[in-house]
C-alpha cells in the first residue's frame, strides 16, 4: 500500500511541472508586458519595476525563481490589484468556493446515493423516473443555462431568495448557487448509483444473502451498499474538481467573491500573475484530489492489489 501511494505521488510531479512550465512559457511569450498601460511609464521607472519583478534576468533564471517561490507557497504579486499578493486574494476567495463546492457536494452525495439506490430497488417507480429525468436534464442543459433560469424563477419571479451577491456566508445567498450544483451533481450521482445498484443486486452473492433468508434491509444495507458505492467513489474526484471548474460559472452567475470569479475577473483584466497563480493552485488541488481518490479507491476495493 505504502509503496503504491509513494509511486502514485511521484507520478504527479511530471504533471505539475508540465502544467506550470507550459503556462509559464505561454505567459512569457505573450506580446505585451504587464506594465503596458495607457500612461507612458518613464524608462527609469520601467527598469525599476523590471528589477523588482526580476524581469531583467534571463528566462531560465526567472523560471527557476518562480518555481522556487512556488515551492515556498508564494504565488507572487497581482499586477492589477495593487498591494495585494495572489496569496492574499486566494485566502479571501478560497473559503467561499470551498464552502459552496464542499457543502453542495456532500448534500448531493447523500441525495444522489439515496435516490439512485431507491430507483434501482424500485424500477419504474416515481423515484426511478425522477432520477432518469434529472439525468437527462443534467446532460442537456448546461449549468450556465440552468443557473440564470433558476435566478429568473426563484429570485425575480417568486422573489424567494436574492438573485446574487454575498454577505459573509449568509445562507440566503448560498441557497441558489448550492441548489444549482446539487441539481447537476445529483443528476450524475443518481444515474451512476442506479446503474451500479442494479448490477450489484443481480449478482451471485446477493442471491446467496437472500437464500440465507436475510431481510431486504440487511441485504441492501450490509451487502449491496458497499460494492454499489464504488463507482460513486470514483466520481467524487472528478466532481470535486469540476466543483472548482463549475465555480467559474456559478460564481459568475451569482456574483460570488470566490476563486472562479477571481479567475474570470483576472482574465478579463489581463492580470497575468493572478491567472497563472490560480491555474497553478487549482492544478495542484486537482492532482492532489485525484491522488486521494485513487488511494481511497484502493482501500475500498478489495479486488485492487498493488
Amino acid at each position: 500500500m505504502w509503496s503504491y501511494a509513494l509511486r502514485r505521488m511521484l507520478a504527479t510531479i511530471p504533471t505539475l511541472l508540465l502544467v506550470i512550465t507550459v503556462c509559464y512559457l505561454l505567459l512569457h511569450f505573450t506580446p505585451g508586458g504587464p506594465f503596458d498601460t495607457e500612461k507612458k511609464v518613464s524608462a527609469a521607472v520601467l527598469a525599476n519595476l523590471q528589477e523588482k519583478y526580476h524581469m531583467n534576468e534571463p528566462l531560465w533564471k526567472q523560471y527557476l525563481l518562480y518555481l522556487n517561490s512556488l515551492l515556498h507557497g508564494d504565488l507572487g504579486a497581482s499586477f492589477r490589484y495593487e498591494d495585494w499578493s495572489v496569496n492574499e486574494l486566494v485566502a479571501t476567495a478560497l473559503p467561499v468556493s470551498a464552502v459552496i463546492g464542499g457543502v453542495s457536494l456532500l448534500i448531493s452525495l447523500v441525495i444522489g446515493v439515496a435516490l439512485g439506490a431507491l430507483a434501482a430497488l424500485r424500477q419504474n417507480s416515481v423515484v426511478d423516473y425522477l432520477v432518469m429525468f434529472l439525468g437527462s436534464v443534467g446532460s442537456v442543459f448546461p449549468a450556465f443555462v440552468i443557473g440564470p433560469v433558476l435566478v429568473l424563477m426563484f429570485a425575480i419571479w417568486l422573489q424567494l431568495v436574492p438573485a446574487g451577491g454575498w454577505d459573509n456566508f449568509a445562507p440566503r445567498y448560498m441557497v441558489l448557487p448550492m441548489s444549482l450544483l446539487v441539481v447537476l451533481n445529483v443528476a450524475t450521482i443518481g444515474r451512476v448509483m442506479r446503474g451500479s445498484m442494479i448490477e450489484v443486486m443481480s449478482s451471485n452473492f446477493i442471491r446467496t444473502a437472500r437464500a440465507k433468508g436475510l431481510p431486504q434491509r440487511t441485504v441492501v444495507l450490509r451487502h449491496a451498499m458497499k460494492p454499489a458505492l464504488l463507482p460513486v467513489v470514483s466520481l467524487i474526484g472528478p466532481m470535486a474538481i469540476s466543483a472548482i471548474t463549475a465555480a467559474v460559472i456559478t460564481e459568475t452567475i451569482f456574483s460570488l467573491p470566490g476563486l472562479g470569479k477571481l479567475i474570470v475577473s483576472g482574465a478579463s483584466n489581463r492580470d497575468y500573475t493572478l491567472v497563472l497563480g490560480l491555474v497553478v493552485l487549482v492544478t495542484v488541488i486537482t492532482v492532489v484530489f485525484n491522488l486521494l481518490v485513487d488511494l481511497a479507491y484502493a482501500l475500498l476495493d478489495p479486488k485492487i492489489r498493488y
Binding site: 471548474t245 467559474v248 474570470v264 482574465a267 491555474v279
Partner: protein
C-alpha cells in the same frame, strides 16, 4: 462446366435470385437501417437539420440585420408585429436573427473544433496503438496528464494570453478535447491488431495496406463516428462557457453562449433574451446527444 450452354439463362436467373443474399447487407447498410428505426435519433437528426438550415438561410430571409437597431422596438417582447418573433434586445436588435447568426458561429466552432480534435485524436491514438512499446506509453502518459489538468482554467488562461479571435477559440477548445478520441482509437487499434480476422487476412497473404484499409479502418470508423457526435456537444459547451464568461467570441459577432450571457444580464426586464437562446442551445445539445446514442446503438458490432 456442369451446366450445358443452353442453361446459361437459367444460371443467370438463379444468380439474380441469390444475388441479394450473396451480397448480404454491408455493415453500413445494416447500421443505417438500425439507426432509421431509432425514433429519438431520427427525430433529433431532423430537428438538428432544421436548426442548421434555419441558421444558414434564415438570416437572408428575415427583414432584419443582426447588428442593426430597430429604434421603434427596443427591448420588445416576442411579437408578430414587424417579425420580431423572438423579441429584441435593449438596443433594438432582432433576437431571432442574432440567435440564427449566433447559431452559425456556435455550430461552426463546434464543427471546426471537432474536426481538428478528431483528426488529432485519431492520429495520436492510431500511432500509439500501431507503434506500441515505449512510444505508446509516452504518448498515453501525455493523454493522462491532459486529463489531469483543470482544462477550463487553462483554456481561460490561453484565451487571455493568446486573444479571442475565432480561430484562437477553436484552437484552445481543440487542445482540450482530443484525448477521448485518442484513447478510444488506440484501444481499438490495439485490439484489432490481434483479432483473428486480421490474422486470417495475414495468413492469406493480404498486403498490409489492404489489411489496414479493408479490415482495420472500417472497424475503427464505427467508434470514430460515435465519438465524433459525442465530441460535438462537449466542444459547443466549452465554446459557450468561454463566451458566457465574456472570454470567447467577441462583439459584434455573437454566439449562443454570448447571447445567453447577454440575456442573463437583462433577464429581469427581458427574460426572452435568456430563454430563447438557452432553449436553442439546449435543443441542439439534446439532438447531438440522441444522435450519438442512436449511432452507438446502430454501429456497435457487439450489440447485434
Amino acid at each position: 462446366m456442369v451446366f450445358a450452354k443452353k442453361d446459361d439463362a437459367l444460371v443467370a436467373k438463379l444468380g439474380e435470385a441469390i444475388e441479394p443474399a450473396l451480397h448480404g447487407r454491408s455493415p453500413w447498410a445494416a447500421a443505417r437501417t438500425r439507426f432509421a428505426r431509432n425514433k429519438a435519433a431520427m427525430f433529433s437528426l431532423c430537428l438538428l437539420g432544421l436548426i442548421t438550415l434555419a441558421c444558414i438561410v434564415g438570416p437572408y430571409l428575415l427583414p432584419h440585420a443582426f447588428d442593426s437597431a430597430d429604434w421603434e422596438a427596443m427591448s420588445q417582447a416576442p411579437t408578430w408585429k414587424n417579425m420580431h418573433w423572438f423579441g429584441t434586445d435593449e438596443s433594438g436588435r432582432d433576437l431571432l436573427v442574432r440567435a440564427l447568426i449566433g447559431g452559425r458561429i456556435s455550430l461552426m466552432v463546434g464543427l471546426m473544433a471537432t474536426i481538428a480534435s478528431v483528426s488529432l485524436g485519431i492520429a495520436w491514438g492510431a500511432t500509439a496503438g500501431f507503434v506500441g512499446g515505449k512510444v505508446d506509453s509516452v504518448m498515453m502518459r501525455v493523454v493522462d496528464i491532459m486529463y489531469a489538468v483543470p482544462y477550463l482554467l487553462i483554456a481561460i488562461l490561453m484565451v487571455t494570453l493568446l486573444g479571442r479571435a475565432f480561430y484562437l477559440v477553436v484552437i484552445t477548445i481543440t487542445v482540450f478535447s482530443w484525448m477521448d478520441m485518442a484513447r478510444v482509437v488506440r484501444g481499438q487499434t490495439l485490439s484489432l491488431r490481434s483479432k483473428e480476422f486480421v490474422e486470417a487476412a495475414r495468413a492469406m497473404g493480404v498486403p498490409t495496406h489492404r489489411i489496414i484499409f479493408q479490415h482495420i479502418v472500417p472497424n475503427l470508423l464505427g467508434v470514430v463516428v460515435v465519438y465524433t457526435t459525442i465530441t460535438v456537444p462537449g466542444v459547443m459547451i466549452t465554446e459557450s462557457v468561454l463566451s458566457f464568461l465574456g472570454l470567447g467570441i467577441q462583439e459584434p459577432m455573437t454566439s449562443w453562449g454570448v447571447l445567453i450571457h447577454d440575456g442573463a444580464q437583462v433577464m429581469e426586464v427581458s427574460p426572452w433574451m435568456l430563454l430563447y437562446p438557452g432553449a436553442l442551445l439546449s435543443t441542439a445539445l439534446y439532438c447531438f446527444n440522441y444522435i450519438g446514442d442512436g449511432l452507438r446503438d446502430a454501429l456497435d458490432p457487439n450489440d447485434r
